[in-house]
C-alpha cells in the first residue's frame, strides 16, 4: 500500500503546533502562540512567515495599546492541508498497528 507523502510544510513540530492551535479558533495573536508553543520569538516569527508564504495562514499586523500586534488565522488552504496531513498520519499509524 502506498502512503501519501507527509506535507513538508506541516511536518515540523513548531509549524504543526501553530496550525493545530489555529484550527479550533477564529484567530490568535503572536503572544498567544508564543505562550502555548513555548517557542522563542525569533523562531516563532520565522515559522509563521513560512506558513504565510505557503498560503496556510493569514497574518494581520495591527497596533494594540500602541504596540505592534500580529494576529494569525488559518486560511482555507491551511485547513485543507491540515486535514490531509491528519488523514496521512492516521494511515501511517493504521498500517503500523496492523
Amino acid at each position: 500500500m502506498a502512503f501519501a507523502p507527509l506535507d513538508p510544510v506541516l511536518h515540523n513540530q513548531l509549524r504543526l503546533a501553530i496550525v493545530s492551535l489555529l484550527v479550533s479558533v477564529d484567530s490568535a495573536d503572536f503572544n498567544f502562540l508564543l505562550e502555548k508553543t513555548g517557542a522563542t520569538r525569533g523562531n516563532l516569527s520565522v515559522q509563521i512567515t513560512k506558513l504565510k508564504d505557503a498560503g496556510y495562514l493569514t497574518v494581520k499586523k495591527t497596533f494594540k495599546d500602541n504596540y505592534p500586534n500580529t494576529r494569525c488565522s488559518l486560511s482555507a488552504k491551511g485547513l485543507k492541508s491540515f486535514e490531509a496531513y491528519v488523514q496521512a498520519i492516521k494511515e501511517y499509524l493504521g498500517s503500523a498497528e496492523s
Binding site: 504543526l16 503546533a17 493545530s20 479550533s24 479558533v25 477564529d26 495573536d29 503572544n31 496531513y85
Partner: protein, 195 residues
C-alpha cells in the same frame, strides 16, 4: 521545537494544541458575579420597599440595576476585547446566546408592561436558557446546575402568590445560579492564567 516528528508524535502534538486552544475561553466570571450581585440587590430592594408606594415599589430598582449593569458590562467587554489574545468561536456562540436573551427579555418587558403584568417569573424562566447553554458550551457544571435552578425558580415564582416565596425563589436562583458559579468560574480562570 525544531526536530522532525514521528506520526504518533504529530498526532499527540495536534491533540495537545487543540485542547489548549479550546480551553482558552474569555473571562466570563465577572459578568455572572456582577449581574448576580446587582439583580439580587434589586430584588431585595424592591421587596423591602414594597409598601413604600412610590417608584421603588414598582421596579425602579430593576431599572437602576439594568442600566448600571449594562454600562459596566459594555466597558468591561470593550476592555477585555482589546486584551484578548485569541478569538474563540465558542466565545462568539456564547455572545450570540446572551445577545438573543437580552433582546427577548427587553421585548418581553415591553409586552408585559403593556398588559400590566409582572414579568419576573417569565424572565427568570428565560434566564435559565442562556445560563444552561453557556454551562454546556463551556462544559462547566455549576452553570448547568444554575440553569436548571432558574427553570425551577421560575416555575415556583409563576405559581406562587406569596411575595416572600417569590423573592426567596429568585434570590436562591441568583445566588446559586449566578454568584456561586461566578466565584467557581473565577477560580478556574485564575488557575488557567497562572498554569
Amino acid at each position: 521545537m525544531e526536530q522532525e516528528l514521528t506520526p504518533s508524535e504529530s498526532l499527540k502534538l495536534i491533540e495537545t494544541m487543540i485542547g489548549q486552544a479550546k480551553s482558552s475561553f474569555s473571562r466570563m466570571s465577572f459578568y455572572f458575579l456582577m449581574w448576580g450581585v446587582l439583580l439580587l440587590a434589586a430584588m431585595v430592594t424592591t421587596y423591602m420597599m414594597r409598601d413604600a408606594g412610590d417608584a421603588w415599589a414598582h421596579g425602579a430598582a430593576w431599572g437602576v440595576a439594568g442600566a448600571l449593569g449594562g454600562i459596566i458590562s459594555s466597558i468591561y467587554g470593550f476592555r477585555q476585547g482589546k486584551k484578548e489574545q485569541v478569538a474563540n468561536p465558542m466565545d462568539r456562540v456564547v455572545g450570540w446566546i446572551w445577545g438573543a436573551f437580552v433582546i427577548t427579555m427587553l421585548l418581553m418587558m415591553f409586552a408585559f408592561a403593556g398588559t400590566g403584568r409582572d414579568p419576573g417569573a417569565a424572565i427568570t424562566l428565560l434566564t435559565a436558557m442562556p445560563t444552561f447553554l453557556t454551562g454546556q458550551v463551556m462544559r462547566f457544571r455549576p452553570l448547568i446546575f444554575g440553569g436548571l435552578l432558574f427553570w425551577l425558580s421560575g416555575m415556583v415564582m409563576f405559581y406562587s402568590g406569596n411575595d416572600t416565596v417569590i423573592v426567596s425563589a429568585y434570590c436562591i436562583a441568583m445566588v446559586f445560579g449566578y454568584i456561586v458559579p461566578g466565584i467557581l468560574l473565577k477560580r478556574q480562570e485564575d488557575g488557567l492564567r497562572t498554569a
